[in-house]
């Protein structure tokens, strides 16, 4: 459904794909958009439709860049520094979380020049353990919350979940949106929930997970991105890693376009975090190329771009060892988890 954009700002948004955005609009202009469910809906449906074929072709084309030697070494170190080292299993134990923390602090104990990962990402009840494990370093502790991964719980339960994590010392909160409400068209509910969680998180940075694999269309991913950014997300994140389709180059490219357009119009920079299914160095480098070519070099920093991953780190370390020694490494030379 395409309606005539209701305000000047919306027209600018609509044009942002094709032409450079006009003079910067103040964030306050979006107050109109979120004034009521109807205006929010009109705005989101007024966003330009996504050219799915073009998007995928663009993502695939950027994936063919050849990154070698010193550029590759730089990309590997950058990617390691951007990892949210994640363990989100029912079987997580305090011991496993401590091991993960130790790995985040010294990813490769045989080579102390290896950069630290950005954060460790755990369930709320493991936050205190994780905090202890990374104490004294700049490694952050991120906690999933809001009834992760399904998000099927009442709002006060979700907020209690967030409060728990923050009280335990989480530096970052990874929340999931209510996909049921989103798909039913109740955008205002999704928006208000994010606002409430943002308020509850306080100083902690908020990452909003859309679970793109459940949103069905690229248009929906673009709409969800805008809801998240309007509601004050510090990061928008693709997936939980718990469904079949997780981060893909195409859906990440789409979200990078959204944060680029949002900053052009409001001056507010929002981070992006693809998560799930990124397992090899080659994949990670492709994502970094997407970031550089779409959002720009301002995002090439772990304050603005993260990888949600666990096995990716081992592959990056093996590639790093290969560059350092000239011989291929193997899984016997990195940790199992």
């Amino acid at each position: 459904m395409r309606t005539t954009p209701p305000t000047k700002t919306d027209a600018a948004t609509a044009a942002s794909n094709a032409a450079p955005p006009p003079a910067k609009a103040a964030p306050g202009d979006f107050a109109d958009v979120t004034a009521s469910a109807a205006t929010l809906r009109r705005f989101l449906h007024g966003l330009p439709g996504v050219d799915a074929v073009g998007l995928e072709a663009r993502a695939a084309a950027l994936g063919t860049r050849s990154i070698k030697t010193t550029a590759k070494a730089y990309a590997i170190d950058l990617a390691i520094s951007m990892i949210d080292l994640t363990t989100l299993e029912g079987a997580d134990t305090a011991g496993k979380v401590r091991a993960l923390g130790a790995k985040a602090v010294h990813p490769d104990p045989t080579d102390r020049t290896t950069p630290r990962t950005a954060a460790v990402c755990v369930y709320p009840d493991m936050v205190a353990t994780a905090k202890e494990a990374v104490a004294g370093t700049d490694v952050k502790v991120a906690s999933v919350a809001t009834a992760f991964p399904a998000g099927r719980a009442a709002l006060d339960v979700k907020l209690a979940d967030v409060r728990d994590a923050v009280a335990a010392g989480a530096d970052e909160i990874d929340m999931v949106i209510d996909r049921g409400a989103f798909l039913a068209g109740d955008y205002m509910k999704v928006y208000e929930e994010i606002v409430a969680v943002k308020e509850t998180s306080g100083q902690a940075r908020l990452k909003v997970i859309f679970e793109t694999g459940e949103l069905s269309t690229y248009d929906n991913i673009r709409r969800a991105s805008w809801i998240g950014m309007l509601a004050g997300a510090d990061f928008i994140k693709t997936s939980t890693g718990k469904v079949g389709v997780n981060a893909t180059p195409a859906n990440t490219l789409l979200m990078l376009e959204a944060v680029r357009d949002f900053r052009a119009q409001t001056g507010v920079q929002v981070g992006v975090k693809p998560a799930g299914g990124i397992r090899t160095t080659k994949d990670a480098v492709k994502f970094l190329v997407l970031v550089n070519e779409t959002a720009g070099a301002d995002w090439l920093d772990n304050h603005w771009f993260r990888f949600g991953a666990s096995s990716l780190l081992n592959d990056l370390l093996m590639q790093r060892q290969k560059l350092a020694t000239g011989r291929y490494s193997g899984p016997d030379y990195v940790t199992v988890d």
Partner: protein, 309 residues
């Protein structure tokens, strides 16, 4: 022409040749070389036969990843099951006998009858090794008499991922004589085919793909032997290397590179010549890539002192 009604070509028209594209066999699939390179393969007299893929070290790396992935399943399969699978390979080879006779005749410069004898010997070689899978443990393992109240048992276990530098001269019988024992013992293999005669090896990949051998258990690469062998010898995730097809100088270099992670190295053997591949192979290649695990288990009986535990 009797084919005219079958192929749909007009009477008297010359039929166009259908050339075979030889491809690598890695992880159960048939990829081209990642590098996109090919090189010309000729028969013993210098006549062009086909273009074979010229693998790069990245193809070698991918092959090691595939072999590592396949190792758990293959080494964990029962010895009896491995024997059945290898026997199936022999059956499939028999079905493609004519193709291999032609390829071996071209590759090794043999007459048709001699090539047929080589192919028969090769099929028999598979059967021979298929029979060994569930017998080698009795031959090299055993119960050891020890001075204490313990059962002491030694059992052979496969080494892991093994790089096989296939013989340069005997492109089929030699190849099978070095590959079959490696996988019969439960290892997985990355095979560097003979550089000048890789076609029988690449066709063997097609046989393996249709013989219940899980993908990745055998991976066949063609190309420059030195270019492929060096990174594989240095690779930290390769556990053993058979240098059958490496010349003396290359073998020395590879052995040095292999020392880094203490790979098990099988040096070129005195018997690795064309004539000797035809002879009965013995078990030395089967045992070359086996590790011995010994376990001590209390018998549960009272000790001499009368004390119990």
């Amino acid at each position: 022409m009797s084919k005219e009604s079958l192929g749909g070509s007009a009477a008297g028209a010359t039929r166009l040749s259908v050339f075979k594209t030889y491809k690598l066999y890695v992880g159960g699939k048939f990829p081209r070389s990642e590098s996109g390179r090919v090189y010309e393969v000729t028969d013993a007299k210098g006549k062009w036969l086909a273009n074979a893929p010229q693998s790069s070290r990245k193809d070698a790396r991918d092959a090691v990843v595939a072999a590592r992935k396949a190792f758990g399943g293959w080494s964990g399969a029962t010895a009896y099951n491995r024997g059945q699978v290898l026997y199936r390979v022999a059956e499939m080879l028999e079905g493609r006998r004519d193709q291999f006779v032609r390829e071996v005749a071209d590759a090794d410069g043999l007459s048709k009858s001699k090539a047929a004898a080589v192919v028969d010997a090769t099929v028999d070689r598979w059967v021979w090794y298929a029979g060994w899978t569930d017998k080698i443990a009795q031959v090299v393992g055993g119960a050891n008499p020890v001075a204490g109240p313990f059962f002491n048992l030694s059992t052979p276990e496969p080494t892991g991922v093994v790089t096989v530098v296939a013989p340069q001269e005997s492109s089929f019988l030699g190849l099978v004589s070095v590959v079959a024992p490696v996988i019969a013992a439960g290892n997985t293999a990355v095979v560097i085919a003979s550089e000048k005669a890789p076609l029988p090896a690449l066709s063997l990949g097609e046989v393996l793909a249709t013989s219940d051998v899980p993908g990745g258990v055998v991976n066949v690469l063609s190309g420059n032997t030195r270019e492929l062998a060096l990174p594989l010898a240095a690779h930290q995730d390769v556990n053993g290397i058979d240098l059958a097809g490496a010349g003396a100088d290359l073998a020395k270099e590879l052995e040095i590179a292999a020392a880094d992670n203490l790979k098990r190295v099988l040096r070129p053997q005195a018997v690795d010549t064309d004539a000797d591949f035809a002879a009965s192979p013995g078990t030395h290649r089967l045992t070359a890539f086996l590790e011995t695990k010994t376990v001590w288990h209390p018998t549960g009986s009272l000790g001499a002192s009368g004390g119990s535990y």
